[in-house]
Symmetry: C2
Subunit: 255 residues, 2 copies
């Protein structure tokens, strides 16, 4: 029965509205004690819990609109997501960050100095080398890295054979290098992408091994996070690669 805020801070690459099946535009409302109207998050019930979701995708005219925002505007947008949204009480706030270590990440690190980062990588060495830059940024910004998640770890065909399609060992190597734990290895499953496209994440349907791994990771994160640390859950992803197989799912993980 947790209340989880989901902030899609991937301004250019937003896809959470589609993945969570929540395409509605956001409304703004006058709120007591504030001059400016506040943005009301879209809500979705998940079991006994509630997701409150805000995404750039819910603010623009249609999904295809290019968002030609630049550095300062990005930081402003993120600020607005935090200050002008009527979040209410939240047990966790999960933030989906764009890849890299740019304006959005730095703005958030400054505005939410006590957040935990989850770094997502693929098994490939090249992805891991990119992801480590996010860890480096976290260190410089004094953010805690809660762990590493390896995405697109392997694929098992119907004949029972397992294929390391994107290499092996990247997640563990990254975790070792930055001295944190590898929280889980998410297998590649066609249902994961399909569920994301349809707005019905596999972890909610509870189908397959990927869903299991997602749930296990969620449990770990909840156990590791002190009860009184409101708005402490924050996820960063980096080169997560497979759209539909990513920590973009973490909202559900924690519901």
């Amino acid at each position: 029965g947790k209340t989880v805020g989901v902030l899609d801070a991937d301004i250019w690459g937003f896809s959470i509205p589609r993945m969570l099946g929540m395409p509605d535009r956001l409304e703004a409302q006058k709120v007591d004690g504030r001059d400016k109207p506040m943005i009301i998050p879209n809500e979705r019930k998940v079991g006994n819990g509630v997701l409150k979701v805000v995404s750039t995708g819910m603010l623009v005219e249609d999904e295809g609109t290019a968002l030609m925002w630049r550095g300062l505007m990005l930081t402003k947008a993120v600020e607005q997501f935090l200050n002008d949204v009527q979040w209410g009480h939240l047990d966790y706030l999960v933030i989906d960050m764009p890849p890299g270590t740019g304006d959005v990440q730095m703005g958030l690190a400054r505005m939410l100095p006590r957040t935990d980062l989850l770094i997502v990588t693929t098994p490939a060495v090249s992805a891991q080398k990119v992801a480590i830059r996010a860890a480096d940024m976290a260190r410089r910004s004094f953010l805690r890295v809660a762990g590493v998640i390896e995405n697109m770890s392997s694929f098992e065909c119907d004949h029972g054979e397992s294929y390391a399609l994107f290499g092996t060992g990247g997640g563990q190597a990254l975790a070792d290098e930055i001295g944190v734990e590898l929280l889980g290895q998410v297998p590649i499953e066609p249902t994961v992408a399909a569920g994301g496209d349809a707005g019905e994440p596999v972890v909610l349907a509870g189908i397959g091994k990927a869903a299991e791994v997602f749930s296990r990771i969620a449990t770990r994160i909840i156990e590791d996070t002190p009860d009184n640390s409101d708005m402490a859950g924050c996820s960063a992803r980096d080169e997560d690669a497979g759209v539909g197989v990513t920590v973009r799912r973490s909202p559900d993980l924690q519901a």
Copy 2:
């Protein structure tokens, strides 16, 4: 026997030095008629052709260094890559762009108004929706979109069965929606990621179906591009997803 410049404009997510096996730091040299020293690209022979490569990864101390650059600095970096590099004669300049439609993309669109964009997507609908924003940006910036490449199209297991791991139809849908051609569908092959990690791209080794598709796409692009349009080849990628399976490979495509 073409001379192809490769500009890795993915400032935060650079991985071209590793993928092309060219980790050396760049040197700067005094050049006649210029006050400032010029950056000399790293070179690699490919058949009768030459690759001249410049990447942020060749400018920083080590691969793990986070590049905490912001909007204006990014645009400046890209400007420097174009103006302060001793490119010499080039038949093509291939630019690997970061995902999204941010500062780097807009800076390049302004500085190189006659470039062609290649948009890379995965078969997933959600990826395609992100990629279309790049097309939208191109249209607003009056850049030509040369075509769409679908990456991570499908995987064939050793038993001959084909799996659409990340959905189907995204590439064709995107191409249709923006009125350009789908130039190719790159299958998922473990050798592609492995080749990228080892600095030996599969297309150079000529192994497998992915290599064939890469070559075919390259031929198409060369045929479509007028001979006298120096520095006309420019690639943008967006949500390319699989590191190691991307248009980051396009340098080789055109060699």
